[in-house]
């Protein structure tokens, strides 16, 4: 049976490859890829940076000869922070522009809304931003950090430092809620008693925990009451805060934190949604000593990273892109994972010898490595990446100082229910 399936797959593959080749022969010597990010609306501030780095990667590849002898032609579309529009735009990219691959999405809700489109029309999406897991589509490659590549190493680090109590706080949407549920299970499995987890629990009628932690709406500005609660929670010492607040609200949160007289030594905060790019519009001085956990930091001291940062700055200075910001730019993990995605796709295409989606996915699943700015990343059969994880301490400059690293962490999307008490 297995053999038969193999033969059939092979037949489809070669047919697909033939069709693909024919189609390409008719066109000129370029191949189109889609860039699907919000260039307007509330997410534009983060996602525009990803568009920039993607264009940079494509220019770099084109300058060195392209992919399979073809120049890459980027098709940039604006999702406008409007989730249904993301689905519409991805349909347009796949059907009208017939792109070979799409790089895009930031919020989990935008990814969830394009997922059925990519599955229906057999497209290929590279998704670059840390997310909550519990998903694995055959048509998506998650270069993003899975929960075990960000939240869990961070918690391990805090446990090692002797932290015993954890306060969970986040913005009220799918990523923080899911991540905190996974973390709750993980903490319990590490012997942290339920009473040492702050922020409150919500249970359904059967007593099953359905939500752990405190959640505030997007754009929330009043953290007085929550800070009083954290202070009370931390009074007995050895407490830490796990922060999944998104966007602007972090400013209000950290200002209130300072006003309450809390310090990073007493009650460290580890934030999962704050990278160097966010620090461009956050007061980094208020966050000195707080922790971040990503698979890349701009301050990484490797030749690959130095070259990447220098080349990107050089590209920015001359890039011919409408409204691009050239001054004061930084690099961060979602940007590097976007960049890695383009190169992994290129390597997979070259390995498969075709742009056909099924063959490329197969090549990716077989394990392809790329020496990116954050270290070597390797694709896995489960559509995630093996990569290095770093824990950093915030400096007044808005950069991170790396204080711990975990090498080659395997990306594991399905974590819920996998932890048992030791």
């Amino acid at each position: 049976m297995k053999f038969l399936r193999g033969v059939r797959a092979g037949a489809i593959l070669s047919a697909g490859a033939l069709l693909g080749l024919q189609a390409q022969a008719e066109e000129d010597d370029t191949v189109k890829v889609g860039i699907l990010h919000s260039l307007s609306g509330t997410m534009a501030i983060s996602e525009t940076s990803l568009r920039d780095v993607l264009l940079f990667a494509i220019d770099e590849i084109n300058a060195s000869g392209g992919v399979l002898g073809k120049q890459i032609e980027p098709v940039v579309v604006d999702g406008a922070s409007d989730w249904p529009l993301f689905a519409e735009k991805s349909k347009q990219l796949l059907l009208q522009d017939k792109v070979a691959a799409v790089f895009g999405c930031w919020t989990s809700v935008s990814r969830k809304s394009v997922l059925p489109v990519f599955e229906e029309y057999n497209g290929l999406l590279f998704y670059p931003v840390q997310y909550e897991g519990e998903e694995q589509s055959p048509n998506i490659f998650y270069t993003a950090e899975a929960v075990n590549q960000q939240a869990i190493p961070a918690v391990d680090f805090l446990l090692e430092e002797g932290r015993e109590k954890f306060y969970l706080i986040g913005t009220d949407y799918v990523y923080p809620q899911t991540t905190n549920l996974v973390l709750l299970e993980y903490l319990l499995s590490k012997g942290v008693p339920l009473r040492n987890i702050g922020g409150g629990l919500r249970r359904d009628a059967d007593g099953e925990v359905i939500s752990a932690g405190t959640y505030t709406p997007f754009g929330h500005t009043d953290y007085q009451q929550i800070m009083a609660d954290i202070k009370k929670f931390a009074a007995s010492g050895d407490a830490a805060v796990i922060n999944t607040i998104n966007g602007d609200s972090n400013v209000a949160f950290f200002k209130e934190y300072a006003a309450a007289g809390l310090t990073a030594e007493e009650v460290p905060v580890v934030s999962f949604s704050l990278s160097e790019d966010e620090f461009r519009s956050l007061p980094a001085e208020d966050l000195v000593g707080q922790l971040g956990c990503w698979t890349y930091f701009m301050s990484l001291d490797t030749p690959e990273n130095e070259e990447f940062v220098a080349n990107f700055q050089e590209w920015l200075a001359t890039a011919d892109v409408d409204g691009i910001e050239r001054e004061g730019r930084v690099t961060c993990s979602p940007m590097v994972l976007s960049y890695d995605g383009v190169y992994l796709w290129k390597a997979a295409v070259e390995k498969a010898g075709t742009f056909d989606v099924d063959s490329v996915v197969k090549a990716l699943e077989s394990g392809i490595s790329f020496d990116g700015p954050g270290g070597t990343v390797t694709t896995q059969e489960n559509h995630h990446l093996t990569k290095n994880v770093y824990i950093g301490e915030t400096l007044p400059s808005g950069q991170f100082e790396v204080i711990e690293s975990f090498d080659e962490v395997y990306g594991e999307p399905f974590l819920k229910g996998t932890f048992s008490e030791e």
């Binding site: 007085q224 009083a228 009074a235 602007d248 006003a259 030594e265 007061p283 001085e285």
Partner: protein
Amino acid sequence: MLFRFHNLIISALFLLVSQLSADDTQAREIFVEAILAEGSEQTALVESLSTTASTLVPDFLEAWKRGDIFLLEADGSAAPTPLLEVEPEQEGGTPTYFRVIDGEEMAAGSFDPAALEMARPSRKTRRVFTMTIDLLALSTPNVQERADAALKLGLKRDDDILPKLILLRETETEPSVIEALNEGIAVSMLSHGTKEGQMDAIQLLRDENSIAGLDALKNLRHDLNDGLATHPFSEEELAKLTASIASIESYISWTDFVGTCFRGLSLGAVLLIVALGLAITFGLMGVINMAHGEMIAVGAYSAYISQTVFYSLFSESTFALETYFLFAIPFSFLTAALCGFILERTVIQFLYKRPLESLLATWGVSLILQQGFRLIFGAANRQVRSPSWLLGNVEIFDITFGFNRIFVIGFAILIVFGTWFLMAKTPMGLSIRAVMQDPQMAAAMGIRINRVRMMTFAFGSGLAGLAGVFLSQIGSVGSNLGQSYIVDSFMVVVAGGVGNIVGTVISALGIGVTDQALQPLLGPVMGRICVLVAIILFLQWKPGGLFPSKSRSLD
């Protein structure tokens, strides 16, 4: 934090170069050994650092933790030399290196900095860093640090540390440190003491209303229930423990109550200063001003501008940081008032008789202004730093009163008083009230109603600008700052009764306190929804708000 770290480096440098007491020499030797050691040996060496009397240890440990200690490989089989790296003062300079063992500076060129390898403490070792630093802090002359360290160590419930704390209590003379020691010892006693010690601790924690000790008491009760405790308790003793927990918990709920009232007042004060301008433009003048939020943003950006100007005039000095805010207050009032003036002259003056059209027009203006902010200041948020007198807090009975919150309450009182004075006691106020009540009659009496309207609208906008200055202190300044407050503003004004400033004051405070009181019970999201539902129901019951306007001229 930044300054503290700089001081650390400078003091470390000073000590490194100049003096080398016997204690320091010993500390250096142990420290070098620790860097070169591995595993549990390393941990033990770091722990032993706490027994040296050297003041260098915390700086060394901090440097090690931050990755500023490097190893210089020696030729042959000799052990590598640990070096301390000190960052250059200017950006782009080269760092200097000092030998840890004797503090000698390494001459540039005598080694290759690129070949240095960072000496990382093992994870186990890092865990004892803070404890070692705290143990050392027990003998510092600084009273506050000593007290903090005593409590922190006691909370660790470590039976190796407990005897040290007890020993220290006998020689300590400072009352606040003794208090902290007592609390810390009591918490440790709960886990490691004799039965008698435990009973004393239970009593002491109850007398002290120790929030820090509550967890330890609860843990003890858990252990007793699970049969894990070292000494079983009799019924009576258990009752004492439970009573102690209940007493601390009731103390906490008391602090929660008072704290919530304060936080409610401060949120109410924020809502009040945000809504007061609208109470005038919408409440008195009847203009549905959707651009009110953008007037707030104008105020916030003005604060940012004054900060930038002060920084460039006085080069980022402390003086600039401490004083720019005093300038920002009148400056934002004036810029926002000017914007209001322009808005009134160009758009609103033609729409006094057509309120629905003024809604659409001002909404359009608000969109234009938001895009304008993005064009001028960029899409990224701008940061406004707070002067030191707005940072920090006082703590009374375990309730934190932030200075910025105290300030906003005082600020709100001042603004309301100023508005009341203007409206009730000045000739200007008299003509404003006359024009608002009956424009034709006022005109017939010789009041230039156009001018009065113009001034009133500018004044209301100026008040919004004042709100913006304060909001810049508790959040970030961005183009959609106003959007997050516009709904709140209308809510406060409508619930308070359109056209009545007393109503606005009461409804702002009422909404603030209700919001803060519901938050711990229902969470911020549900709490907010409940407040909105309550306001809708209230308006069903009293459509005119708290203080409905009784004037006949307003329809």
